[in-house]
């Protein structure tokens, strides 16, 4: 079982490389393993019932897809601000916006993440910090988890586009850092977001 999964992963990986070499644009259907990290959940414990996992993401637009119940997502690396200089300007126009109470990437936002992936491919020396933010309509603890989930969803998308997961860090601020302090839909829509901060190694 485990072997067949690894083989399948290798096959997909090889396919990506092959297609990449011929210049075809490919949106990977399955998650790409992060180098040096095992994608599957290991250890004991109860996997979440598959029928419920299948429902997750349903009705959320084109990004809703069947999730392998054995795979939980991409473990993030620990963000250490002491090791890099933060550049908030370069990718400021690629801020990704979310629907209320959702962490799914909307089709309208995919192009931004693809541009960020392109930037990371042409600048192999930098990393990126993805900040997840929420509007004020959720409760505070809930929003902290939702913001993290949004950041992780963007990170997963970048990894699926071929970016090394070790270059992509996540952090959540919940509703603690709104860009617009207003209490209306216009403000909330601006606050439900994922921001990209370029990380350059300290000189």
């Amino acid at each position: 079982m485990k072997h067949s999964m690894i083989h399948r992963g290798l096959f997909v990986f090889t396919l990506v490389l092959a297609l990449g070499a011929t210049g075809c644009k490919l949106r990977p259907k399955g998650p790409t393993p992060i180098p040096g990290q095992r994608p599957g959940v290991t250890g004991t414990g109860t996997a979440f019932p598959p029928e419920d996992v299948g429902r997750v993401g349903a009705g959320e637009g084109p990004t809703g897809r069947q999730i392998d119940p054995n795979l939980q997502g991409f473990p993030p690396g620990r963000f250490d601000p002491g090791r890099s200089d933060q550049d908030r300007g370069t990718l400021a126009s690629y801020t990704v916006y979310f629907d209320f109470d959702r962490s799914a990437i909307k089709s309208s936002e995919r192009g931004k993440i693809e541009s960020v992936a392109g930037y990371l491919k042409s600048n192999p020396g930098v990393g990126v910090l993805v900040e997840g933010h929420c509007d004020e309509r959720g409760t505070e603890q809930y929003n902290l988890s939702l913001g993290e989930h949004r950041a992780l969803a963007i990170r997963e998308y970048l990894v699926n586009l071929g970016i090394d997961g070790n270059r992509v860090y996540t952090i959540t601020f919940g509703e603690d850092k709104p860009v617009d302090p207003g209490h209306n839909e216009a403000a909330w829509a601006k606050n439900r977001r994922g921001e990209f901060v370029v990380l350059r190694p300290k000189q």
């Binding site: 902290l144 993290e148 992780l152 601020f173």
Partner: protein
């Protein structure tokens, strides 16, 4: 000895458990089938801080201050450097309490007196000398404070000029756990208020937040995202034996413990929108907790008597609701969020949003009376009641 008389009272109380129990059954408002009602008491002879503290303490614990001719109990006395207090049952003219409180500040004397009044009249331990912790916003940042349960004598715990949030008490100890971004990542710290020392408790990659300590003080439930999604974990407070309790692709948040330490209740979006779930603290399947009539349920807190879970529902505005710990119909109480039970399983501390800022308030669940605690300037939120 600060409260000589209180010590005598507690000895008497333990010597007469049967009498107190029957008093609780007959007077406890929460289980009164006739519906909630206040116990009318008169309050005469007090002034200044002692008067305001006595009034606050009694009004938030189910009493109504009335004139003497409408009162069931007459509370009277005077205060200067000490506080003298008497309680008389107006109908049968018996004296229930007559004491003098010396030492400490005027508010402390009043709190000691009100605790004895509550225990004498309804057989329930008073809450006037308990502590709370909360978050105070300071512009872009926030700091942790702790204070008396009414917000007085607030003391700042952190001074990190970063975001510090979600304080929670270790039961029976003057120790807080909270989340701080002081090292650039949301990490959980354990802070001993007696010694002023702190140490990192959880510094995994990604989110470390939502700490909740088991009633025996030995284990900590929390939210970690180190495996790629915010999930509930439990770890011993000494740092060993990390166990992952949930494995969903959706986000979990705000774990709390049943008083027997066997079950954890938390929020998950596993079914597409926020709802309450329970899971065995040792691991196993997660089960939906029914909250009929309430949707978008988050931030559960389990009452110390084990019977009731209080939580926030979001139904076009935040509502504090309760539900039986085995699930069922939800009871909406008042507008507000992030509720936490007092040790008496009757009073709840929560956050209200008003005029663009947040305020910490107390709620007497049976009577639905709300009183704001004294606020530190700025927005106050995320209260936790020491147990």
């Amino acid at each position: 000895m600060k409260y000589k008389f209180l010590l005598v009272a507690s000895v008497l109380a333990t010597a007469r458990p049967v009498a107190l129990k029957s008093a609780q059954e007959s007077i406890d408002i929460y289980h009164d089938k006739l519906g909630p009602r206040f116990i009318p008491v008169s309050l005469e002879g007090y002034s200044g801080e002692a008067l305001s503290a006595l009034k606050f303490d009694l009004e938030i614990q189910g009493f109504e201050i009335t004139s003497a001719d409408q009162a069931q109990y007459l509370i009277s006395g005077h205060n200067s450097t000490s506080l003298v207090g008497r309680v008389i049952d107006r109908l049968n003219k018996t004296a229930l309490l007559a004491k003098e409180y010396t030492g400490g500040a005027a508010r402390s004397q009043a709190h000691a007196f009100s605790d004895e009044i509550v225990e004498k009249l309804v057989g329930r331990k008073g809450i006037a000398r308990t502590k709370i912790a909360f978050k105070v916003d300071t512009g872009q940042n926030s700091e942790i404070y702790f204070a008396d349960y009414d917000g007085y004598n607030a003391i700042r715990v952190t001074q990190d000029s970063t975001i510090s949030r979600d304080p929670t008490w270790v039961p029976g100890r003057r120790v807080l756990l909270y989340t701080s971004y002081k090292d650039g990542n949301p990490d959980i710290y354990l802070h001993d208020l007696s010694g002023g020392t702190r140490r990192p408790f959880a510094r995994y990659p990604g989110l470390n937040a939502g700490a909740a300590v088991s009633p025996d003080g030995r284990r900590v439930a929390m939210v970690l995202s180190k495996n790629g999604s915010p999930d509930i974990y439990v770890r011993d407070i000494d740092g060993s034996s990390l166990t992952q309790l949930t494995r969903t692709r959706e986000d979990e948040s705000s774990p709390c413990w049943s008083p027997d330490g066997r079950t954890i209740c938390f929020t998950s979006r596993a079914a597409g929108r926020a709802a309450l779930y329970t899971v065995s603290a040792g691991g196993g399947d997660m089960r939906r907790l029914r909250t009929e009539g309430a949707i978008n349920c988050t931030e559960p807190d389990w009452s110390p008597d084990g019977k009731t879970i209080v939580f926030t529902a979001n139904m076009g505005g935040f509502q504090i609701c309760t539900v039986s710990a085995i699930g069922g119909g939800a009871t909406p109480l008042v507008g507000g969020e992030d509720p936490c039970w007092a040790p008496n399983s009757r009073t709840v501390i929560f956050t209200r949003r008003t005029g663009g800022k947040r305020v910490v308030s107390l709620l007497d669940v049976p009577t639905k009376r709300v009183k704001d605690v004294r606020q530190v300037s700025g927005s106050c939120s995320q209260p936790s009641w020491a147990k």
